[in-house]
């Protein structure tokens, strides 16, 4: 149990996309809580609604074709969905920051990285340009970029992927936000750089104390960092528990399947194929009746095909959405 204050409380968030081919319920009832200073993981396959959740928090859903159709997102006790555009703008970059998956394209190619970071600072704080530049260089130093004074005037294309992601982080943290959302921030980097960036984020979290919402499809990423892990499937959270609990005793068949499919270094060599979850993520236009995981679930029963299970607290802090959760 976490006795820190609740920072973000998402209740029954539903974000739909209205396209020519039909309605896509990308996020269909997500509940999620982030406490101050907590590192929360949001894990799932592509298309399960995790990025959409993040963008919904930021209110950056492109409208058309997307629309937040229901639910509440409480931040510091205030429902973000009821705020005006201008109020949200002031929050973005200042109280809640986000970093994205593609560092190669996430920075504006025609402005120097220094300018882009300084812009974030001057947007939200009343300091002059010289001060902003100083602070930018501090941030660059903080994220581990060597020769920050020289790098200030460089353009994104003059830096490697890893460097750019560091710049993104510097930009996101420049105003000391309460929450940093990292949307697959390390997915596009090669493994060693990935490890570096994760180390950096861990270090910064300890230093600055902000909460982080790590969105990833890779359980390994959240294993070390997250306090709490949420597993998402087909627009809903299917399991939520502490990291330890998830890895030690996964209760939802999907979580179990995910863990099984991670190649483990320590296991002895076998000639058996790596276990994978059968089937594919359902098409958002044709969600299966009942529990959305039932077509792929080895434990599915008739009930699963008829009714949708609710999120149930099976153990303190451990929520599962299943009629037949796995025994711990």
């Amino acid at each position: 149990m976490d006795n820190r204050e609740v920072l973000v409380d998402i209740k029954n968030l539903r974000t739909f996309f209205y396209t020519e081919d039909g309605v896509v319920p990308a996020v269909d009832g997500i509940d999620l809580t982030i406490h101050q200073g907590e590192v929360v993981g949001l894990v799932g396959e592509s298309g399960c609604g995790k990025s959409v959740t993040a963008l919904s928090i930021m209110r950056l859903i492109p409208d058309p074709p997307g629309k937040i159709v229901g639910g509440e997102i409480f931040f510091h006790g205030e429902d973000l969905l009821k705020k005006s555009n201008e109020e949200m703008r002031l929050i973005r970059g200042d109280k809640i920051s986000m970093i994205f998956q593609e560092p190669m394209t996430s920075l504006n190619p025609v402005y120097t990285i220094g300018d882009q970071i300084s812009e974030a600072i001057t947007l939200h704080q009343k300091i002059n340009a010289v001060e902003a530049k100083k602070r930018t260089i501090e941030m660059l130093h903080l994220v581990g970029i060597p020769e920050p004074e020289r790098r200030y005037s460089q353009y994104p294309h003059e830096m490697s992927g890893g460097m750019r992601q560091r710049v993104m982080i510097a930009m996101a943290l420049s105003c000391n936000p309460d929450l940093l959302i990292s949307d697959e921030a390390t997915t596009a980097l090669d493994v060693t750089i990935q490890a570096q960036i994760l180390d950096l984020m861990r270090g910064l979290q300890k230093k600055l104390g902000m909460a982080i919402l790590i969105i990833t499809h890779n359980l390994a990423v959240v294993a070390e960092m997250a306090d709490t892990i949420n597993i998402a499937y087909a627009g809903k959270i299917v399991e939520s528990a502490t990291a330890r609990e998830i890895f030690k005793s996964p209760r939802h068949p999907y979580t179990y399947g995910l863990l099984q499919s991670i190649p483990k270094f320590t296991e002895k060599r076998t000639s058996e194929p790596l276990p994978a979850i059968e089937g594919m993520v359902p098409s958002p236009y044709h969600m299966p009746k009942g529990c959305s995981f039932n077509p792929r679930c080895p434990f599915a029963t008739e009930k699963c095909r008829e009714e949708e299970p609710e999120l149930v607290e099976l153990a303190p802090g451990h929520m599962v959405r299943c009629f037949h959760p796995i025994e711990s």
Partner: protein
């Protein structure tokens, strides 16, 4: 960069020479202008033969080319056939300022209206505004200039009148006879009223094109990740468009602008004919059909050199505004 520019400039020289020879060869396919004189009962065959010989049309085209080229090197661009007694250079020098005035103003007007419309269209893609702009753009691009011009003249000169009974706008021409000794401002305003309708006719079609180019460039840019980053930073929407998006969207547009400048000198022959403007378009066409090769060559060389120079300029400007581009 400097070496690149020098190399390009050196490369222009053989290019210009080739253009000269090829143009001259093509012009020579036009038959001599004296044959039609036979209709006049007082002109005999021997008169026509004498004229053919005097103007050099009895020589094969390459001999004529050397004769002409020899003159050009000495600074003598040759006499005009269309205007006996005047040199080709004088004839062009009279038509050039008229054309530059008309086309230059039209160019600026088209950019000033077309680009913002394109941006608006892109931001509000698929909205009513976008559809209206698209329809009007296509109308403008498809409208035959001579028909539109005549229609405007009927409206503004025959139907609409000033209180004095004179037409609201003069139907064609460039100046009012009798104002030669008037003050600068009177003459300026007089000239201006003649430009209104031709500029409308010409701009109407270019506005459509510029709006389309800007729209598609802008649409491409708005979808980029760095725009999302800017929004996530809390940049106000107006700055997202005008600062982040526009600077990137303008890169191809600026090159297009640089490449379009030489067309200012070429004039628009149909519009000039309809509006009775003694400009380059009309002049070059007349020179080409009446086999006035000195005048046609001066005009053509002027435009070719401008095209070649502005191509180089476009490349230089491109490198200047896009930091990713570097020439070696």
């Amino acid at each position: 960069m400097r070496d690149y520019v020098i190399r390009r400039i050196l490369g222009m020289i053989p290019l210009i020479l080739i253009v000269m020879i090829v143009s001259f060869a093509i012009f020579s396919m036009v038959p001599n202008p004296f044959a039609a004189l036979i209709e006049n009962p007082r002109i005999k065959r021997s008169d026509i033969d004498r004229l053919i010989k005097a103007w050099g049309f009895d020589l094969p085209w390459y001999m004529r080319f050397f004769r002409w080229f020899g003159g050009v090197i000495r600074g003598d661009w040759g006499p005009s056939l269309l205007y006996p007694g005047s040199s080709a250079r004088d004839v062009i020098a009279l038509a050039l300022p008229v054309t530059v005035r008309l086309m230059g103003i039209e160019f600026l007007v088209a950019l000033a209206i077309g680009l913002p419309i394109g941006i608006l269209s892109a931001i509000k893609q698929y909205s009513m505004t976008d559809y209206v702009v698209t329809v009007v753009s296509f109308m403008g691009m498809s409208m035959p200039t001579f028909w539109f011009g005549l229609l405007l003249m009927m409206l503004f000169s025959v139907v609409l009148k000033r209180p004095s009974g004179m037409p609201l706008l003069p139907p064609g021409g460039i100046l009012t006879p009798g104002l030669e000794e008037a003050s600068f401002w009177v003459k300026f305003l007089d000239r201006a009223q003649y430009l209104v309708m031709p500029v409308i006719v010409l701009a109407f079609s270019s506005i459509g094109s510029w709006a389309r180019y800007m729209r598609s460039s802008m649409l491409e840019v708005i979808r980029q990740d760095y725009i999302r980053t800017a929004r996530a930073k809390g940049v106000p929407e107006r700055s997202v468009i005008n600062k982040h998006a526009l600077r990137n969207a303008m890169i191809p547009i600026v090159t297009l602008i640089a490449l379009s400048v030489p067309a200012i000198v070429g004039g628009a022959s149909i519009t000039e004919t309809i509006f009775n403007i003694p400009g380059m378009g009309k002049l070059i066409i007349a020179a080409e059909t009446k086999a006035d090769y000195p005048t046609a060559m001066v005009g053509l060389m002027l435009i070719s050199i401008l095209v070649i120079v502005f191509n180089l300029l476009a490349d230089i400007v491109y490198a200047w505004i896009d930091p990713r581009i570097k020439y070696s």
